[in-house]
């Protein structure tokens, strides 16, 4: 079982002591997190690691997920897209009614009786209408800087019922929101199977299992199959790179989450776009690619790509940097906080630029190594789970008004 002390060699004893003292203040308090899926995507990733750690600190935390059918998740994905800026989305009243009804049904089976309840993203947002007690916080992981106003105005009355809102970036806080808002950068767990160190032979085994040649350079993008992640852009970059660096391979790694019905459709589009290209590997959890395999692939990348058009924060960038891999990425979401141009990777302005920067890194391994080391330091100092856990503990302490 994971213990907070296990992180001391990475973040230092001081950080661990601070966390323990804060946890002491709210020991025995009950907290509940609710989101839409237990696997796939950054939110599940964060909760999967933070909740057991908080429990190990003596806080009675549980993590519950929403139950819904494909129709429900199709509507909530539309909401997600609308909040992220898709102005063409509209939610008819019958779809909105179904969204509320599914939440009503879930409220009757979920245990929401807690001192602090944290609701993640729009899918379970309406659960606030069933609050019996406690303080409620809405954690929005989406880039809501330019939302579709028609859809936002349907959701905002429920957001206003919360005691606190939490966003990943300052600019995501919707204008005029009268609820207190705090910023919480997502973080990664360096000891999780997805990020822990691996032996070279383990990495080689994973690559060979999927037919990837360990002796040829590999670049890749880890992201859901989703238009916002721009998978076709990553493939276009690869094709340009290959014309300059023959022999290079591309891995496109994604996961299907139950709250993302578009995933299958976009996976199919990506496979079609790849065609018979033997140098491109499109892989997912359906191929048996789990945390360990993602870890191996990321460690095998000479360069990680992140060509996203929108990002909540970009935790796959954090993961690659932690593994000492330089990242060539767009300026979406929280990427510029992580990719410092020329220091931890390169920020790019388009396909040609991204291809050029990738070629540069493939031809100059010494530069890739320098940037990779810079990236690892940057993540160690700023984006590890101990930071995220400290933020959650402080939020809890202040919501319930406890003192040391």
């Amino acid at each position: 079982m994971v213990k907070i002390e296990d992180y001391a060699p990475i973040v230092g004893d001081g950080a661990i002591e601070t966390i323990k003292k804060m946890a002491e203040i709210i020991r025995g308090e009950k907290a509940v997190h609710v989101n839409a899926t237990s696997y796939g995507g950054g939110v599940a990733e964060i909760l999967n690691r933070t909740v057991p750690l908080a429990r190990a600190l003596g806080i009675d935390v549980s993590w519950q997920t929403l139950k819904g059918d494909t129709d429900f998740f199709t509507v909530t994905k539309k909401m997600h897209n609308a909040l992220q800026g898709d102005q063409d989305v509209s939610i008819p009243s019958e779809e909105f009614g179904m969204y509320l009804k599914v939440n009503d049904e879930n409220a009757s089976v979920l245990d929401l009786d807690a001192d602090v309840v944290v609701i993640h993203d729009p899918q379970p947002l309406p659960l606030i209408r069933h609050r019996k007690r406690g303080k409620w916080a809405w954690r929005c992981h989406i880039d809501t800087s330019t939302p579709n106003n028609a859809v936002w105005s349907m959701l905002e009355p429920m957001v206003r019922m919360y005691d606190l809102t939490i966003f990943s970036m300052e600019r995501y806080i919707p204008k005029g929101l009268p609820v207190p808002a705090i910023i919480d950068y997502p973080t990664i767990d360096p000891l999780a199977p997805k990020n822990a160190s691996m032996k070279p032979e383990e990495i080689t085994r994973v690559l060979e299992r999927y037919g990837v040649d360990p002796d040829r350079p590999l670049i890749g993008q880890v992201a859901r199959f989703d238009p916002w992640k721009n998978p076709m852009g990553a493939i276009d970059v690869f094709r340009k790179v290959r014309s300059a660096v023959p022999g290079v391979q591309l891995a496109m790694i994604g996961a299907f989450a139950k709250d993302d019905p578009e995933g299958a459709e976009w996976h199919e589009r990506v496979v079609k776009y790849v065609g018979m290209d033997k140098d491109i590997f499109v892989l997912s959890n359906l191929d048996g690619v789990g945390d360990l395999e993602v870890n191996a692939f990321q460690r095998a990348f000479s360069v990680a790509l992140q060509l996203s058009k929108r990002e909540g924060f970009g935790l796959t960038v954090t993961e690659a940097l932690w593994k000492g891999v330089p990242v060539v990425a767009t300026r979406a979401g929280g990427i510029p906080l992580q990719v410092i141009d020329g220091t931890t990777g390169f920020l790019t302005d388009g396909i040609d630029d991204a291809a050029g920067k990738t070629v540069l890194l493939l031809r100059r391994p010494w530069l890739a190594r320098e940037l990779g080391e810079g990236g690892k330091d940057h993540v160690r100092l700023n984006f590890l789970i101990t930071n995220g856990l400290s933020n959650y503990l402080r939020m809890h302490i202040e919501l319930v008004g406890k003192m040391g």
């Binding site: 001081g14 005691d163 929101l177 808002a181 705090i182 020329g342 100092l381 700023n382 202040e398 008004g401």
Partner: protein, 290 residues
């Protein structure tokens, strides 16, 4: 890539130990050069967090969550260790990072400062926007302030209370509010620091055990605001605007027309970003290093 030494750019900054009370943060923010942010360190001088003026104001005005100040009283909240009020700092860099990287990071993310530590996270100093702007004194960029200001200026009417001002700053996430009359003319300005100083002085002046934030924040905003407004004109060069902010030690200022009516707001980081967009990062780096 040649990494320019950070040593000559490092600035000392106010710090607080993690077990010291919130009151101490207010004291630091209220005196001397009124730092807006204070780094929190542990007993070994390692950086563990940061507390900003806005964060302190949120706590004192009871605007976050249940509001500890409301529940436990203002005086007891002020005595509580800063550990539970600070935020994690996400702008930490090692001392061997290049100045160019810090400049790019700050400009890309509109972040006005970075914290520099050694390998074991011990504080070495900070690099902030002033570091760069000071080195550009005397330069002109053939670019007008009005083209780079934020046109969404949030203002406060002259009849508002301290509470109105404090809440507006927290909710709108701004550090200063120009005060305008009914015709939109700027008559004063109030900053988060002004309000924190006011709360601190009230806390010291009143002997009673229970300080009532509601009571003390009913005071009219004029009681804490400044009538002397440092402002820019839209046609002014970015270099002039930067120098005015440096000379007056303000981090931002309203942009006004000839009739004193507000047109927008510009901050130091807005100016730095604008200069980079006009001259390019390479030229700027050469100027700064020269």
């Amino acid at each position: 890539m040649i990494i320019m030494s950070l040593q000559k750019f490092l600035t000392k900054t106010a710090t607080l130990e993690i077990n010291e009370p919130l009151l101490m943060a207010l004291e630091l923010m209220s005196y001397g050069r009124h730092p807006y942010r204070i780094l929190v360190t542990n007993g070994e001088g390692k950086v563990v967090g940061i507390i900003t003026g806005r964060r302190a104001l949120e706590v004192l005005m009871g605007v976050r969550g249940t509001g500890m100040a409301k529940k436990k009283g203002l005086r007891r909240t002020l005595e509580e260790a800063v550990r539970i009020f600070m935020d994690e700092s996400h702008e930490i860099f090692l001392e061997d990072v290049g100045i160019e990287a810090l400049l790019k990071f700050m400009v890309e993310n509109s972040i006005g400062y970075t914290v520099i530590v050694d390998q074991s996270r011990r504080l070495k100093g900070i690099i902030h926007e002033v570091t760069f702007l000071e080195r550009l004194r005397g330069k002109r960029f053939n670019a007008s302030t009005g083209d780079f200001m934020s046109r969404e200026a949030i203002t406060l009417s002259s009849g508002a209370s301290v509470r109105n001002g404090g809440r507006a700053m927290v909710e709108k996430r701004v550090r200063r509010l120009p005060i305008v009359d009914s015709e939109g003319r700027v008559t004063g300005i109030v900053t988060i620091g002004d309000i924190l100083r006011f709360i601190l002085s009230e806390a010291k002046a009143q002997d009673s055990l229970e300080l009532d934030i509601e009571e003390i924040s009913r005071m009219p905003i004029e009681a804490v605001s400044s009538k002397k407004v440092v402002a820019a004109r839209p046609e002014e060069d970015l270099g002039e605007a930067a120098e005015r902010m440096l000379d007056n030690e303000v981090s931002g200022m309203p942009v006004i027309d000839a009739e004193n009516r507000i047109l927008g707001i510009i901050s130091r980081i807005d100016v730095l970003k604008a200069i980079v967009s006009v001259v390019g990062i390479e030229t700027l780096k050469a100027e700064i290093d020269g």
